[in-house]
C-alpha cells in the first residue's frame, strides 16, 4: 500500500459522508407506527401465536378421531347394506360368506349354476381375510393448501422471533433493556446535579 494514511482517511471519509437512503425518515415513521402497534401488543401477539398453534393442534386432534369415526361409520353402513340372511336361505348361510357378498355382475351369471367353492385352507383364509379387510384407519391424506398455509404462518418467524417466544429469553432481554435504561437515566441525573 502506497500511503496507508491516505487509505485510512478515505475509508473514514466514506463512513462519515455516507448519505441516508431517500425516504428513510418516512419509512422510519411508518415502521415506528407499526412498531407501536406491535410492541404495544407484544404480549397479545405472543398469546395469539400460541393460541393459533393451539388451535391447529386442537383441530388436528379433533380431526383424527373424526376421520376414524367417519371410517367406522362407513364400514358399518357397508356392513348393514348387505342382504341379511333370510330364514329361507338358512341353508345358504352355511355357504362361505364370500359367495353371499359377491355381487352378481350380470343376470346371466345369477342364472348360471353356481360353481362349487374351492376349499380354502386356514392360512389362505387368514391371508384372504386380511387382504379383503377394509383399510382401517384410513391412511393419512396429504395436507391441504389451507393446512400448509397455517403451518407456514406458525413457522414463519425467524430465529430471533422464535427465541422471543421463549419467556425466559424475553424476560432477560427486557430486564437488560430496563437496566440499561436505568443506568443511563442515573448517569443523566448525576450529570445534571454536577
Amino acid at each position: 500500500m502506497k500511503n496507508p494514511d491516505e487509505a485510512i482517511d478515505k475509508v473514514l471519509a466514506g463512513l462519515r459522508d455516507v448519505e441516508a437512503p431517500a425516504g428513510m425518515e418516512r419509512r422510519i415513521l411508518a415502521a415506528a407506527e407499526a412498531g407501536t402497534a406491535v410492541h404495544g401488543a407484544a404480549v397479545s401477539r405472543w398469546a395469539s401465536r400460541v393460541a393459533m398453534a393451539g388451535m391447529i393442534v386442537l383441530s388436528f386432534t379433533l380431526a383424527i378421531p373424526a376421520i376414524k369415526w367417519h371410517g367406522h361409520l362407513a364400514t358399518e353402513a357397508q356392513r348393514h347394506a348387505l342382504p341379511a340372511p333370510s330364514a329361507k336361505g338358512a341353508q345358504a348361510a352355511s355357504a362361505p360368506p364370500r359367495e353371499l357378498i359377491t355381487p352378481a355382475r350380470t343376470p346371466t351369471r345369477i342364472a348360471a349354476p353356481r360353481r362349487k367353492a374351492r376349499p380354502v385352507n386356514a392360512a389362505d383364509a387368514l391371508l384372504l381375510a386380511e387382504m379383503r379387510a377394509p383399510s382401517h384407519p384410513a391412511p393419512e391424506e396429504p395436507l391441504t393448501n389451507e393446512e400448509r398455509l397455517l403451518i407456514r404462518a406458525v413457522h414463519l418467524g425467524d430465529t430471533q422471533v422464535m427465541a422471543m417466544l421463549n419467556p425466559e429469553v424475553r424476560a432477560r432481554q427486557e430486564a437488560e433493556s430496563e437496566a440499561e435504561f436505568q443506568r443511563f437515566a442515573e448517569q443523566s441525573g448525576k450529570g445534571d446535579s454536577e
Partner: protein, 185 residues
C-alpha cells in the same frame, strides 16, 4: 420534510398527546446521525436503516420515561450503536465490506485502477476489523463528524482522555499494519 409530516397522520399527534415526544422532530434531527453510526459498524445501508427504525421503536416504547434522559442525542446514539453491534454479530460482515469498498473506489476511474482502489479499501476495512475492540469502536465513532470526543466517551462509557488515547493508538496500529502489508507486496 413537509411530505413526511403530511404522511404521518395520527401517529405523531397521538404519541405527542401521550407524551411530550415529538417523534417526527426526533426522526428529522437524528435519523441521519443514527444512520451513519449504524453504518459505520454494519457498512450496509439496508441494515443501518433497519437499526435506525429499531431505535425509534425503542423511543416509543420508552416515551413515558424519556424525561429522565438529559442528553437525548447521546442516548439515541448509544442505542443505535448497541443495536448495530448486536446486528453485526448476525450478518456476514465480509460481504458488506466488499460492496462498501467497491462503492468507495468510485466510478470515474478506469476499471483497473478502480479494482486496485477497492482492494486497498478492503485491506483497510479488514485491518480495522482486526484492531482491538476498544480501539476499533473509538476509531469508527471518531469517523462520524457530528460526534465529539466527549460524546464518544459518553456513548462508550470511557473518559475523554481514554478516547483520545485510543484513537491515537488505533490509527498508529492501523498505519503500521497496512504499511507492513504494503511492504510484503
Amino acid at each position: 420534510m413537509a411530505s413526511i409530516q403530511g404522511g404521518i397522520p395520527a401517529l405523531i399527534s397521538a404519541e405527542s398527546a401521550q407524551s411530550d415526544v415529538d417523534l417526527a422532530a426526533l426522526v428529522e434531527s437524528y435519523s441521519g446521525l443514527l444512520f451513519r453510526v449504524a453504518h459505520s459498524i454494519l457498512r450496509s445501508r439496508a441494515e443501518a436503516e433497519d437499526v435506525v427504525q429499531e431505535v425509534f421503536v425503542r423511543v416509543i416504547e420508552r416515551r413515558r420515561s424519556l424525561q429522565a434522559i438529559r442528553d437525548m442525542r447521546v442516548w439515541l446514539v448509544r442505542i443505535a450503536w448497541n443495536l448495530a453491534l448486536d446486528r453485526r454479530r448476525r450478518i456476514r460482515p465480509e460481504q458488506m465490506d466488499e460492496s462498501f469498498a467497491e462503492s468507495l473506489a468510485g466510478n470515474s476511474a478506469p476499471a483497473d485502477e478502480r479494482l486496485d482502489q477497492a482492494q486497498r479499501m478492503r485491506s483497510v476495512l479488514r485491518e480495522m476489523e482486526r484492531l482491538p475492540k476498544a480501539e476499533r469502536h473509538v476509531l469508527l465513532l471518531s469517523a462520524i463528524e457530528e460526534l465529539g470526543t466527549e460524546e464518544i466517551s459518553e456513548v462508550l462509557g470511557r473518559s475523554g482522555s481514554a478516547v483520545r488515547a485510543l484513537i491515537f493508538r488505533a490509527r498508529t496500529r492501523l498505519r503500521e499494519r497496512l504499511g507492513a502489508r504494503g511492504g510484503e507486496r
